[in-house]
Every structure is written in structure tokens, then in C-alpha cells.
């Protein structure tokens, strides 16, 4: 399971309005600072992460440092899945 790839593809296809595949998101691009994740985007992303990786994200984990980039999101997911 390549969580980084799955998260990146989800954001590219579902959150970013990017129909022609241009300007694809990189793993280190800032998600919050660049405004990629708005409130609705955040709701979609949380549901995707919990359903796809069978994890439950707690409020204490919903902090900026975990949602900065695709890389940090992937680390969060891998830390959680490795505990099971």
C-alpha cells in the first residue's frame, strides 16, 4: 500500500479542480498555506483517509503539522496503521 500515492491521487482528482491533469500536486506542496484544503475539502479528505486506511483520526491528530503536505499526511497514516 503506497499511502502517499493514494492520498496524492485523491487530492488531485477530488479536491483540486484539475480536470486536465495540469499542475499536479507534489508531495511537498503546502496544502493548508496554499488554500488547497478548505473546510469542505477537509471533510472529504478525512472521510477518505478513515475509510481507505481503516483508521480513526482523533481531534488531537487534526493539527496543522499533520496536514501540511501529502508527505506529512502519509506519515500520519503510516504511523497509525503500523500500530495495528
Amino acid at each position: 500500500m503506497d499511502s502517499k500515492k493514494m492520498i496524492r491521487e485523491f487530492i488531485n482528482s477530488t479536491i483540486i479542480d484539475n480536470p486536465n491533469g495540469k499542475n499536479k500536486l507534489k508531495d511537498t506542496d503546502p496544502l493548508l498555506e496554499a488554500g488547497i484544503l478548505d473546510s469542505l475539502g477537509m471533510m472529504k479528505l478525512l472521510s477518505f483517509l478513515e475509510e481507505t486506511f481503516s483508521v480513526s483520526l482523533e481531534a488531537k491528530e487534526l493539527m496543522p503539522e499533520n496536514f501540511e503536505t501529502v508527505e506529512t499526511l502519509s506519515s500520519l497514516i503510516e504511523n497509525k496503521t503500523s500500530k495495528y
Binding site: 469542505l40 471533510m43 478513515e50 487534526l62 493539527m63 496543522p64
Partner: protein, 381 residues
């Protein structure tokens, strides 16, 4: 998949229905006209452990699973015609859930026993004059000032606000990170210096539930009174709003059941053109639609509650349920007036009050328009 309720859940609902019918329906028209909150009935509900149903046993509660809680609120709202009181209780339960989930030991020990016994009243302060559905545009700010946070701003339309002893306030702590990490929640007590509570707002319905403005002028709050951690506010809000939408939807369904039964009864007793009006399809079709919406709403409500019991995120489900059930309630209230004709328009028959109380359900806890935005977005738009 088992759709049946347990024997305990059925008995629990029955005990609440018997209690509410006997104890909570006094002076309804007068209290509505005066906008009087019945502290006496609030205390009776506390005596029935209705307020402690989501409070952990350790803090004096009788913590039930969330589905059972939802069934209890549905039963309460079915039998108690004072929708304002039910709304005040729903608000209290949401605050208790919030504190149970995110409070530290000290905060839980300090607040939960009083709240679950109904000795103190709680409110959540989120909405602002310029930040309704657009929560993140809130302006109320908490700035670190030595050992304290200094809070400035105002909140409006706060359920239980004018009566509240304990307020859970959401404020900006980092304006550059509104989306995540920039909002924090605080526990504020009524005698906190710098807090001023407005008079109850005069409103169309839910008049027995006091709702008003809160003003914070250099209100100093200790670091010990932050709920969760600094910056967790939106995460906390996102979690609690799912419980809130479910509890309120349970109340709406209870009311719908009562309205349906009232309309069926009236349809049998009211005669026109030589027969009961229920014999006219234009009346019976309205009753069919009410019943369909009630049953579909129940299925969705119980799924929402089940998901929260599983510890699952239910953003989409609670939005669907909240939208469908609140719109169904509003429709049922309008149809009930139509079925009752001129009598339905008169205060004496208490149908018009149901409509005035019910309309707000499509506005508070996220308008129907906002729910549709969430649903379409989650569906892939």
C-alpha cells in the same frame, strides 16, 4: 442487520413518555407567549436522569450508548410539547458530550457533575453576527496575555446563552490558520470578568428556550480553561456537530410522531360533507407523506447514532439526516395546519406553535443550504 430495539430501550422510551406527558406539558401557551423557560421542568428532567444520560458514571452520570440517548430524546420530544425545553436539554447534552470527549480530568470533575444534575446550565458559543454558516470567518479572538488568554468579540443566537453558567466558547487563536489549528475552545464561567450576557432575544418560535448574545470585552481566561489543546477548536467542533445534528434530529422525529398522531386523530373526529375528513384523499395523502418521512427519518437517525457509537466519522450521514428530518418536520407542521384548517391557525389548538417551533430546525446547527453543500461535496461535486 437487526432493526429491533432492546427490551431495555423500549422500557426506557416508555418511562420517558409517561414522565413527560404527566409532568412537562403545563402552561404551554402562557409560557410560549411570555417566553418563559421552565426551570421547574428542567429540574424534573434532571431528576429523571435525562441530562446525565451522556455523562460518564465516574462524574455522576448514567452514561448510555448514543443510540439509547437518541431514543430517549426522541421519546422526550414526542411526549413533551415544550419544544423549547427539549432544545435546551439537547444543548446541555451536547455540552456534556463535548466536555466528556475533550475535557481533562480537572475540567470534567469540575463541570460534569453539576451539568448532568441540571444544577448548572451550559451553552456552546460559536455563531457570530457576521459568521453564521461561514463559521471560519469568526472574529472573536483569544490572544495570549501572560498567564491568561484575553478574549474580545461577541457571539449571537446562543441557545441557553442568557441562562448559561458554563459557556464553551470557540475563538480564533491564530488568524493565519483558520482552517486547521487556528481556532481554540475555552470553558468560560458566567461570573468571568469581561463576559456580558444579553437579554433573551425575542423570536418567532422555541420561545421557552432562551437564546441570546454574549459579549467578551478583555475577558481573561486561564490556560487551564482551554478545552483540548490550543488550535484544536475546529477538530472539536467537527466532532461535536455530528452528535448535535443527531440529537436535534431525534427531537424533530419525536415531534413529527406527535404531529402525525394529532392529525390522524383530528382527521377521524372532524366531519365535513357528511364524513370524517380522513376519508378525503387530499387529507389521507398528507398523512401518508408524513408517515413515509417519519419512517425514513428514523432509519437514517438510527444509522447516524449507530455510526457515532462505533466511533466512526459521520459527516455525510449526519448532514443527510439533519437535512431530511428538519425539512420533513417543517413540511409536517405546515400540513398539520392545513389539515386542521382554521383551527390549526388558532393558538388554542397548539398546531401553529409547532410550526413556529419547527421552522428553526432548518436553520440552526447548519442551514439546509449548508447541508446540501456538504452532501454534494461529499458525493463528489
Amino acid at each position: 442487520m437487526d432493526f429491533s430495539l432492546s427490551k431495555e430501550q423500549i422500557l426506557f422510551q416508555k418511562s420517558i413518555i409517561d414522565f413527560a406527558r404527566k409532568e412537562l406539558n403545563d402552561n404551554l401557551i402562557e409560557n410560549d407567549e411570555k417566553g418563559s423557560f421552565s426551570l421547574k421542568n428542567w429540574k424534573k428532567c434532571a431528576g429523571m436522569d435525562i441530562l446525565s444520560i451522556q455523562c460518564p458514571v465516574k462524574y455522576g452520570g448514567c452514561k448510555e450508548d448514543f443510540l439509547t440517548t437518541v431514543l430517549g430524546i426522541e421519546a422526550l420530544s414526542y411526549a413533551c410539547k415544550d419544544s423549547g425545553l427539549v432544545h435546551a436539554i439537547a444543548t446541555q447534552l451536547c455540552c456534556i458530550i463535548l466536555l466528556s470527549l475533550f475535557g481533562n480530568e480537572t475540567q470534567k470533575e469540575k463541570h460534569l457533575p453539576n451539568l448532568s444534575k441540571g444544577e448548572k446550565i451550559a451553552a456552546q458559543a460559536i455563531t457570530e453576527p457576521e459568521a453564521g454558516s461561514d463559521v471560519l470567518s469568526m472574529q472573536t479572538a483569544a490572544v495570549i496575555s501572560g498567564e491568561y488568554y484575553k478574549i474580545n468579540g461577541s457571539k449571537t443566537f446562543i441557545s441557553n446563552g442568557p441562562l448559561a453558567d458554563v459557556i464553551i466558547l470557540f475563538a480564533i487563536t491564530n488568524p493565519n490558520r483558520r482552517q486547521l489549528g487556528g481556532v481554540s475552545s475555552f470553558i468560560i464561567q458566567k461570573d468571568q470578568k469581561g463576559l456580558r450576557k444579553g437579554e433573551p432575544l425575542d423570536k418567532m418560535g422555541l420561545r421557552t428556550m432562551h437564546n441570546g448574545e454574549l459579549f467578551f470585552d478583555d475577558c481573561l481566561v486561564s490556560h487551564d480553561d482551554i478545552l483540548g489543546k490550543e488550535g484544536q477548536g475546529m477538530a472539536i467542533f467537527g466532532d461535536v456537530i455530528e452528535f448535535e445534528r443527531t440529537i436535534l434530529a431525534a427531537a424533530h422525529l419525536g415531534t413529527m410522531q406527535r404531529i402525525l398522531e394529532m392529525c390522524i386523530q383530528y382527521g377521524k373526529s372532524r366531519r365535513q360533507f357528511g364524513q370524517p375528513i380522513e376519508k378525503f384523499q387530499s387529507i389521507s395523502n398528507k398523512i401518508s407523506d408524513m408517515k413515509v418521512n417519519l419512517e425514513l427519518g428514523k432509519m437514517m437517525l438510527y444509522k447516524m447514532a449507530w455510526m457515532k457509537d462505533q466511533g466512526r466519522r459521520a459527516t455525510l450521514e449526519t448532514s443527510i439526516g439533519k437535512l431530511f428530518i428538519s425539512e420533513s418536520l417543517k413540511k409536517a407542521c405546515l400540513e398539520a395546519i392545513q389539515i386542521h384548517g382554521g383551527y390549526g391557525y388558532m393558538k388554542e389548538y397548539e398546531v401553529e406553535r409547532e410550526l413556529r417551533d419547527g421552522i428553526a430546525s432548518t436553520i440552526y446547527s447548519g442551514t439546509s443550504e449548508l447541508q446540501r453543500n456538504i452532501i454534494s461535496s461529499m458525493a463528489g461535486v
